[in-house]
Symmetry: C2
Subunit: 368 residues, 2 copies
């Protein structure tokens, strides 16, 4: 088989790593646009980044208006601010939304595109250089070449992709996640789990992506069962596992679970990680029914059976949303137009997708 | 704990990958110096590289005079040729020796140094960009920031190191290894095993380096027991495992086994991989006696006990060289001046080193 392996981002891990290794950002530019949300200041990440930039003699402008599931309007605002400030580097601080907004700003600051062309692909190698500082353990965006944005044209979330979107540096400091509420810890951990699993379910899954995906599952899965009262060590492990899952999808991308979940987020405001958690269990059940070989490898890496994994996911989800059948039928139809669905190992049909959606979120009337 | 993870090289894997993905080299420069040994032409690698460069419209000059354990004189000759040809990129084709020579040429072509300063460290970020094409499954040099050269000042082999020495691209085509003689297959496989094990024994071993090292051991070790009549699939697996071990030492470097082995190579002409194979078993025995926890993880990844691993290594080595005790005593003393010895998890003493050397290569009079 033919495959490639590419993770050019230099990752620093450890509590205090922004202060310890922040000098690495010095050659990236003279003026940083820091892209963040309102909550990143509270965990200490923003202060650490500002202090590191100041110690490097770098100026910075803070753009802290990124909301969950960032829109193009938000990205445009960031690009305008970057230009006005003369920013020549971008630092993303936060969960997936600020980091993905930061990436889109970094590329659109150097490559002008009309709104309707933003999701058209074909990005070049040029973007402002970036450093990313995740404050949740889920997205893995700090080591991927993707930015996921709200796509009002397709009424879902859509990725833009370019090797230029790999950050130069990622700083993983688990202390920024210490104070996360349980629900966010759960949702983001489920997101990371879904990245690792979906990478394994992708046709392009390879010895390289599986090195990252399986190691992520080995670390992540056993820790999912008790996310209350986490030790610092467990927080650090979740953050590293999330980064590994990011390295896996950097090779393969995601597939069916994310493809379905984006509609729950776009249409119904379900948190991104939770959307994946709601749909992942029944996706694994379908893999079991279809005898997908990768499922066995996923279970070995998790050290758990499909039943056990589904139970863990149910526990993570708690009470499930209920979505009318006709809505789910619409989602199933729209999911089929996602370019990543056909790249799933078991070639999901629209019926397969509907089955997962009904079993995960239906009113129970569906006996599949 | 604090650690980093960095493998900026984009790795292409698969039979035919130079022809398939050689266009990736196009942006690297206009004129390539191809650095290789006499045998690389025979396996098809050199022809594939020349064809890919020609298809890219890139000129090239072939420097095929690299011998095993390259000297500074050889590197100087390559630098002179690169300058005369106006080469602005370097392609290393071969085993560790041509690849390491290529790296040294790439850095010394842009940073002039007197011979006595070559091993003094402090290299900057500048080097000619590189692509590497390994033709043995052992060195991992295609994904490391190190070049190991014969060091006539210290009468051993010494590494030079710089992030600039990471190749931009590595092309792993197992077909280039199909025709390797059994002895070279054995020696180079032992080299890769030693990289993975030594990385695990390094104090700087981390969740990142261990992701690569353990995966390398999982793939490599079970295949070491039957290196005769290899299938293409096994050849490919060995090459990927060797690359993973390279990614591991890219994070940590090597330690005691390489530190001892370089003297066997420098003084007695023992092939590099074989030198490691000769010394690795007794190093593991010493770890067992000292209760080094990493040993347990090494055994789990190999799926074998220390006894079994030592037996496999003995089989790889065949009849052992016999070295006089006083020579080994000198090697032990000189090994202690290697900067990587003190970075080994069990803090080896000179007595420890001598014990490994005597048990591995002594005349049997030593009962330790």
């Amino acid at each position: 088989m033919s495959f490639s392996s590419y993770v050019p981002t230099k990752v620093f891990c450890g509590r205090g790593c922004v202060r310890e290794y922040g000098a690495a950002m010095k050659p990236l530019g003279a003026h940083a646009l820091i892209v963040t949300g309102k909550s990143s200041a509270r965990c200490g990440a923003l202060q650490d980044v500002c202090a590191a930039l100041a110690a490097n003699g770098q100026d910075y402008t803070v753009f802290d208006r990124v909301l969950p599931n960032p829109t193009l309007a938000c990205v445009r605002e960031g690009v305008a601010l970057a230009r006005a400030a003369g920013a020549d580097l971008v630092v993303g601080v936060g969960g997936g939304s600020p980091m993905d907004a930061a990436k889109a700003i970094a590329v659109l600051a150097v490559e002008a595109r009309a709104d309707e062309a933003v999701f058209a692909g074909g990005y070049g190698e040029a973007a402002l250089p970036m450093a990313h500082v995740p404050t949740t353990a889920g997205t893995g965006s700090e080591v991927t070449p993707y930015a996921i944005l709200t796509d009002d044209f397709a009424r879902t979330k859509t990725s833009i992709s370019s090797p230029a979107l790999f950050p130069k540096f990622a700083f993983l400091d688990g202390s920024y996640t210490d104070g996360l509420p349980l629900q966010i810890t759960r949702d983001t951990a489920a997101d990371a789990l879904s990245h690792a699993v979906e990478s394994m379910l992708k046709k392009s899954s390879s010895p390289a992506s599986e090195t990252f995906a399986k190691e992520s599952l080995r670390i992540l899965y056993p820790r999912l069962k008790s996310l209350e009262d986490l030790t610092e060590e467990t927080r650090d492990a979740l953050l590293w596992a999330s980064c590994l899952a990011g390295m896996a999808i950097a090779q393969t991308g995601t597939t069916i679970v994310h493809g379905m979940g984006y509609f729950l987020t776009y249409d119904r405001g379900v948190a991104h990680g939770r959307a994946n958690a709601l749909l992942l269990g029944e996706t694994l059940r379908l893999c079991e029914e279809k005898g997908v070989p990768a499922l066995g490898e996923i279970c070995v890496a998790c050290g758990a059976s499909v039943d056990e994994i589904c139970k863990t996911l149910s526990h993570l989800c708690g009470a499930r949303e209920n979505v009318p059948r006709e809505t789910l039928e619409r989602y199933a139809a729209r999911t089929m137009s996602n370019k990543n669905i056909g790249k799933c190992k078991f070639d999901p049909t629209q019926g397969d997708v509907l089955r997962i959606l009904l079993r995960s979120l239906g009113d129970g009337s569906f006996i599949g």
